[in-house]
Symmetry: C2
Subunit: 760 residues, 2 copies
């Protein structure tokens, strides 16, 4: 078998030089002639009726070109899924959280726009608001949305197996409540948008969306025009992590103000606005009951999840599915009952974030699993190995596990960490283990497929068009590697045009860890389509069959007689000037076979993905018992992402995920007081920085998933899941205490230590 030449190599990102030299153009760097600057006026009320908006003074201010209110919009509600359209991008009659957009200004410079906001007079009628799930569920509670009873946005009940009986059959059952915090994505580039309008009626928006095609769909809806009149061009992004999937107020505001002024309009969130108006990770209360056999075998689990989603649902239908899904992997669980609620409150809305609703559950399950293991005297590694999903398993909710390297990741992580030596030493030093599993892309509601196109230049150059959205995760590099591998050329020979809704074919976007699987498979098929067209011509020339033609090392040759060969570029030229063939265009559309929609009539069962990734992390911590400060010294990161297409990139994803888990476990919490953010800046909202970074040791278990492109599965999102348990459990190993409320701050540790002292 010939070996891979391009995939499997840890090649640097194709945009590295551009970023390192500061030449990469983010939204903030974009300028157009006659460009105006926009600012958005935000509600000071958590819940209020907009009685009147007087914009006269603002309009008259010198330098102000447009003042826009919700009344000049169509007032159309948008949402991530067609059943979830509850959000006007600019409020028309009501505001539902502090920070919601009510008006916008475009002016000749940023200061003028900012000053003009003060001249807009909004008359509100304050309405009673709800800030907690408990308040929101009361019969007498004010409704966030008039038509939604008891403020329940979504309610889900699943039932698999016979949970009652299974608990009775269990040797040991325990119940715990876990709670998690509101967490931000923490990208360093706030959301921004530059919009231009042409008299033909065409809008062009340069912005940093993880889902350019969904952004286009939403904007076309909100603007009341066909999708063909909206071009969304995804530019270089400074991170996304799920926080750049929702369609935001500033997109509509800049587009409409560009139309009204006939000039380009740019709006950029300040970081404060990003905190106030952007989406965030949903906080959970999880009541978790688990029953096991004496040997640690999981028998049953019951999970009651209450979630505070804020004023709008975003992708909440997926989020609430994901809370349940997170119980189904990575362990075998024959009986499961799930009850979950997403509640509307008068707070900023929650959306997807890396791990999307699953990592919070993993924190609960992995912590409780260690509690159980301790009670039963089983080693945490052993209890995980005992319950780990295995290749060929089908979960009770129908997930079909093809490849699964979980057990091996557990063994590798434990082995590398020196688990046996380090475990159970106590005295402020500890190790902890956590596991996770994740779907490699899920079916997208808008359109089920990813597509790709390749255009060959007349000189043999290869141009890939993909709708995929690189937000910093490096997918342009991965997709370019796939093309290069298939055509036997180098990564540098491939030009990648991505994320432009006009020139690129549909791809779901960087969401639900779909890119490598969906876009990757589409790109692979597309490159194979190109290869076939070239091979036909070369085969005819060599009087051979098409399937005997190989592409390798910039050469196209006959397998049986490698002396018969021609350079790739010459082969392309030959194909393109041949009358029979002509200009070569590759196309492909991909949808994984055997994928099902979660079936509402069967507790949302269904095999939602073509492959599932797995990971294990072991954290090594030191806890200062005097201050409660946790130092994460080292993390052992072992992934099963099928076949790593770019090990360097996979390492980065694993380390970034681990760091992300560290932050959410130990520091991160957006503190709110009656709908108002208390710590509305990175001074008050703590995230781990390079200085806090543990040492990382990466390892990969290669499983070669048959349906993945070249055997790959996802890694960018799922890897975070295993970090949550690892850190919680390491703290327990170091201190003997459990903190079941995130983040596990020094204060909580000190308090728990004190209680333990009292108790002990």
């Amino acid at each position: 078998m010939k070996s891979y030449r391009v995939i499997g190599q840890g090649l640097p990102r194709i945009e590295s030089a551009e970023k390192a030299t500061g030449e990469a153009k983010y939204v903030a760097d974009l300028k157009l002639p006659r460009m105006l600057f926009g600012k958005i006026l935000r509600s000071p009320h958590a819940h209020a009726r907009i009685m009147n908006i007087n914009t006269d003074k603002a309009r008259k201010m010198p330098g102000v070109k447009v003042v826009l209110t919700g009344r000049e919009t169509l007032g159309i509600k948008i949402g991530a899924l067609s059943g979830s359209r509850d959000r006007q991008l600019i409020a028309v009659e009501k505001v539902r959280f502090i920070g919601e957009a009510v008006a916008a200004v475009a002016a000749v410079d940023e200061d003028t726009a900012q000053d003009a906001l003060d001249l807009i007079e909004v008359e509100y009628e304050a309405l009673p608001a709800v800030f907690t799930v408990e308040e929101a569920l009361k019969d007498s509670a004010p409704r966030v949305h008039e038509n939604i009873e008891r403020n329940i946005a979504f309610e889900r009940r699943w039932n698999f197996g016979d949970v009652e009986k299974a608990f009775l059959d269990s040797d040991y059952v325990r119940e715990d409540r876990f709670t998690t915090s509101i967490v931000l994505h923490g990208f360093i580039e706030p959301t921004g948008c530059l919009a231009a309008w042409e008299p033909s009626g065409k809008y062009t928006l340069w912005l940093g969306s993880q889902m350019p095609f969904t952004t286009r769909r939403d904007l076309a809806l909100a603007l009341g025009v066909p999708e063909g009149r909206v071009r969304v061009i995804k530019v270089v992004m400074g991170g996304g992590f799920g926080g750049k999937t929702d369609t935001m107020d500033l997109y509509l505001a800049s587009a409409l103000m560009a139309r009204q002024s006939g000039r380009p309009v740019k709006i950029e969130y300040t970081m404060k606005e990003q905190f106030m108006a952007g989406s965030r990770r949903i906080p959970l209360v999880v009541d978790l009951k688990t029953g096991v056999k004496r040997d640690g075998t999981l028998v049953a689990q019951e999970s009651k999840v209450m979630t505070d989603g804020g004023a709008y649902v975003s992708a909440g239908a997926v989020t609430i599915y994901n809370h349940g899904l997170a119980h189904m992997i990575p362990y075998r669980l024959p009986n499961f009952r799930y009850e979950a609620y997403r509640i509307y409150t008068n707070k900023p809305f929650c959306g997807p974030k890396r791990g999307h609703g699953q990592n919070q559950i993993r924190f609960a399950v992995e912590s409780q699993l260690d509690m159980i293991a301790e009670e039963l005297g089983i080693d945490p590694v052993e209890i995980r190995l005992k319950n780990a999903l295995q290749p060929g398993d089908v979960t009770v909710n129908g997930l079909k596990i093809n490849t699964c390297g979980l057990s091996e990741t557990i063994r590798q992580a434990a082995g590398r960490a020196g688990w046996k030596e380090k475990k159970g030493k106590g005295n402020g030093v500890g190790v902890g283990i956590g596991c996770g599993g994740f779907s490699s892309g899920v079916r997208n509601a808008a359109l089920s497929d990813a597509a790709a196109m390749i255009k060959l230049n007349e000189d043999g150059g290869v141009v890939l068009f993909t709708g995929a959205a690189d937000m910093g995760q490096g997918c342009n590099t991965i997709l370019g590697q796939i093309v290069a591998e298939v055509l036997g050329i180098d990564l540098k020979d491939v030009t990648v045009i991505a994320g432009d809704t006009e020139t690129c074919p549909y791809t779901p976007g960087a969401v639900g860890s779909t890119t490598t699987w969906y876009a990757g498979n589409a790109v692979k098929l597309c490159a194979e389509d190109v290869r076939k067209q070239i091979a036909e011509v070369v085969a005819a020339r060599f009087k051979a069959n098409m399937d005997e033609i190989e592409f390798y090392d910039h050469q196209v040759f006959l397998q049986s007689d490698p002396e018969k060969k021609m350079p790739f570029v010459a082969a392309v030229r030959a194909a393109q000037v041949s009358d029979a063939k002509g200009v070569i265009i590759g196309r492909a559309t991909y949808y994984p076979p055997g994928i099902e929609w979660p079936d509402p009539n069967r507790s949302y069962a269904g095999n939602i993905s073509g492959g599932y990734s797995f990971s294990t992390q072991v954290a090594e911590v030191e806890v200062d018992k005097g201050t409660g400060k946790v130092l994460v010294k080292k993390m052992y990161l072992v992934d099963d992402c099928g076949f790593p297409l770019n090990p360097l990139s996979c390492e980065g994803q694993a380390q970034g995920s681990a760091s992300n888990a560290q932050g959410e476990m130990l520091f991160e919490e957006l503190v709110m007081d009656r709908g108002r953010i208390v710590n509305c800046s990175f001074e008050g909202y703590k995230m781990p920085t390079a200085i806090d970074s543990p040492q990382f040791e990466n390892e990969t278990v290669i499983t070669n998933e048959p349906g993945g492109p070249f055997g790959a599965k996802e890694i960018g999102e799922g890897f975070i899941l295993s970090g949550f348990g690892a850190i919680a459990n390491a703290i327990h190993d170091a201190t003997g205490i459990w903190v079941k409320d995130l983040p596990i701050t020094s204060e909580k540790i000190l308090k728990a230590l004190k209680e333990k002292e009292k108790g002990g």
Copy 2:
């Protein structure tokens, strides 16, 4: 048969509103942040060696960012055809005409750049120059290119039939010399270019090229980079007429100065520069000998053509072929001998212009045909009908005439003009007739095909990608109509993305009248490819065969049961969300079957095109015998362009061509004195304006060419041919004189009238 809904309609151009409101963005309208302005220093010598260039002073001038000379280029020679690469875009060692680029400056504004040119010190060694064909052919003549003997760029000899014998067999033989002038394209938008460079090594150029892919190829060559590193974006153009096919000095200068400065650079020719450095129509000396039978039947023709091509050949290999070709249509000619030379002189180079080398020949042939008719007492209409090519004819050089409405165009034109009543009145009032025929696109040397792509938006919107270059002739509208017709939707439902080498697939460009035939057929095939993909899904739904599905009136329905239908947009949605199908991308590549390269071993015989268009014009003139002034009162324009896809657009092409012929026949001549232009502005160079316009009456003979898209043939270029004879012959009818030297100015008419008086 269902009737067409979109093609065949005289729909206004899709860009009409944009142009009418002044919102269309020509190169002159484009701005980029930090953009510099460039200017080009031009040679004052017709022939000189560049001994030294001192740029120190210019570089030191405040505001100057780059000074570029030929020595900072790679010095690579480019040319329209691979065998014709004789031109450096910026001269390195020698200049060969007055106006050739020797250096360029980029500065913060246009004035600074202009002033800096004066500070560049170029030391020339003047060389002896040649300015006429006679001088150039002398044995002792200086060579324009060192390696070219006797300054003969091309030399062609064709021989068909037995010409000697045929002349002997003729009842009447006559010989005349005709001469034509140097003529400009006269577009009102001078050539311009905005270039940007990215640190990744990528050049982007916004410019108005009729051949964006050829421009890209030439620039990639000149810059020494792969084509993938050069993106040429054709912007809205203010005319081309063949004068925007050549790759110009300012493209390379702006690209290189953008790279050197790291800032965008724009250069626009002044109109004076356009006159000096742009291409122009080649002047001919034609010695024409024709033999006929007594009844007017053409028996033999001999044509000796001497041409003064200037310092470089541009597309001269095609030009010299076309001089010969123009004898082969539109009349039957069994014996033909051709001898032609393209000579290098130290003047600006000649390139393609509408009619490309054929209209000059038509002037000669059509004038001489009327002389012969007069001698033989045959009516000019009759002699043309007698000799007109007929469907099924194959010319002696192998052109296969499928459809041919020539005879009918002659009859229609004569009939409408009231030929019989108006002909032969003399006394300053006259009518004249001229005919012509033209190939509908010829094989392109770079790549034989045109390609097209169609991308469907998620909401069913249709986006066409074509490499075709709309220079004002309206091809974006025509191509959009083709897509709309095939898919049963409206023109406004189709977004046309065109002429961008990065996002659009290869198409030869607006040259050789290829667009409607090549791009049109590719686009039609591509739309059919899309239709098939949708029909598959709809057929499955209706449990019918795919070929029973029709697309009409925004509906997709079952032919046999039109009640079974769904809206087009719904059908697209259905197709795109179906697992079996997915994202719909159409692609097609087109090359006309049965097309041959002209064979150098058979006097360049070969059927070069899939179809041939024909036309007849009748001009009605009044000549003031006191002043010699010619008033063209009315022109009857009858075309056979197969099936007119957009009659409004075809009318425009016919009228524009007639006006163009009027100018070249009566006014236009670039006067040169030892390599220097005497009338270097539109004050001195006269072109017809609206005030000079005759009344036009259009008629169309529909022939439905089988290989053309929906039966169409070309019209944009070929129609000019019939105007030349019509005007010359009308002047003769009005005055009795012949002027065989273009343009037929008042002075020449007065002189001829005087001579006639003396002679008579």
